[in-house]
């Protein structure tokens, strides 16, 4: 379970997160929606310990990240996989080396097992046989899939997705959505998906939470989200520039 209590973060002059509370039960996929700049990605980076909160706590299965030093946080990070918005593949490494990097560096298994794992995870994301390709040779959708294979290489308990479908055509976006659902069913992981793509949110989310002014202002199932009378949620899902959310 991921439990966030009173999380606050100021970046420059902007209060990005302002006493945010959220509880994500194990095994569920939660989608965080909200306007650009509302702190969705900042929230993800706090969950995996890439940013330190100004105030509040983030507990991962009861362990508070704020009370840990870097080596303890690293142990927690080994239970996470993260797909970055830009995929963040290492250009100097091949696809196979990207996927197997953490396994090799943490010496989690012998080299032949690592190769098997890399092949298997690339197969799961529909890129079997692409081990030798360079990231620069791949399309945006393929890079996302390699990023996902890398995120699941260590058999994580938690997967974080930062804007997984942004910049992709609708068909490729649907492929990524299906992969997210497939990973959920295959690995029984707890997932947090940050997006402002509502079609994707409805497809992959067990529950949807909406961020506004640094707080969670709504949470519910996709059906509850669609039917919500909350003016903030309504304005966001209708994509209207008129309403309580000022641009």
């Amino acid at each position: 379970m991921i439990r966030i209590r009173g999380l606050s973060k100021r970046l420059g002059r902007k209060q990005v997160l302002d006493g945010l509370d959220l509880e994500i039960p194990s095994g569920e996929t939660w989608v965080i929606i909200g306007r650009s700049g509302t702190g969705k990605s900042v929230l993800l980076k706090h969950i995996i310990g890439l940013m330190k909160p100004d105030a509040g706590s983030i507990e991962i299965d009861g362990e508070d990240l704020a009370a840990m030093d870097e080596s303890q946080i690293n142990e927690v990070r080994k239970r996470f996989g993260m797909l970055f918005q830009s995929s963040a593949l290492f250009d100097s490494l091949s696809v196979g080396e990207n996927v197997g990097l953490a396994l090799r560096e943490h010496r989690m298994m012998p080299e032949d097992k690592i190769r098997e794992r890399v092949t298997e995870r690339l197969d799961w994301v529909g890129l079997a046989g692409s081990e030798k390709q360079r990231p620069s040779d791949l399309s945006g959708g393929m890079r996302k899939r390699v990023g996902l294979a890398r995120a699941i290489a260590m058999d994580p308990q938690f997967i974080l997705y930062d804007e997984p479908t942004t910049g992709l055509d609708p068909i490729t976006a649907d492929v990524i959505d299906q992969l997210i659902r497939a990973m959920q069913q295959r690995m029984r992981v707890t997932s947090v998906v940050v997006t402002h793509d509502l079609a994707s949110a409805y497809k992959v989310g067990d529950r949807i939470a909406m961020l506004h002014d640094g707080k969670v202002v709504f949470q519910g199932t996709p059906e509850e989200t669609r039917a919500s009378r909350d003016p903030l949620v309504k304005q966001f899902i209708e994509g209207s520039s008129e309403g309580p959310i000022q641009v």
Binding site: F80, F84, A88, A102, E105
Partner: protein, 266 residues
Amino acid sequence: MEEIAARGARYARRRVADWFAEVGRITLMVGEAARAFVPALRSFRLIVDQMNTIGVGSLWLVTVVSLFTGGVAAVQAAYQFSSVVPLKFIGAVIVRSVIIELGPVLTALVVGGRVGASIAAELGTMKVTEQIDALRAMALNPIRFLVVPRLVASILMLPVVTIYANAIAVFGGFVVATVAIGISGHIYVTGVKQYFFIKDLSSGLLKSMVFGGIIGVMGCYHGFRTEGGAEGVGKATTNAVVASCVLVLITDYLLAHVLFRVIFAS
């Protein structure tokens, strides 16, 4: 008037505070790199790759710069010696000036421009495309993977490139001295042999190691501090090169005092 003076004082205080903060951050990064040194040896291939990029990759540029530096030194020496010092000392002057000063400093400035910019641009791009965050998210230390190999390679390779640059510069001087100035090759080589001292070479190479460290640290530091997109990478690259060059020249002066007035004073 008082208001302008107060604003000036506030600005100066802020700049001084920023400077100290920057020195603190650089010190922390170097400390972290020192702690990550032993674990980084496990990924020795990364260090060898960087040695190849920094050393072998700089050879062509260093060859051209050193060849002409030696040539210019010969022409200048001949001009300044005219009717004061016998021309047979040209080899001696070139070998000492190249080995003590011109070789290490010009190599550091040339390699600093090329390598410092390349390190800052590469790490800066990795920062803005979240690759550094990706390493941390996989519980991997970016200092170990990115900083230590570049730092070690810079410190090890700059002296090697400097030895090569020294040899090329002395050869450049030989060509100009024999072809354009008309000194016999034998006299030039005799002067070089007579005035080649190991302590000059040692001091030059020691300076090169320090310069290598400066280039590596500045490239990595400014790369890691990159913010924003392409503009941020451009700024980081410029800052890395400017900081490397300025620090190389200031450190050269300080080392000249330490090496030639204290250590090799006798």
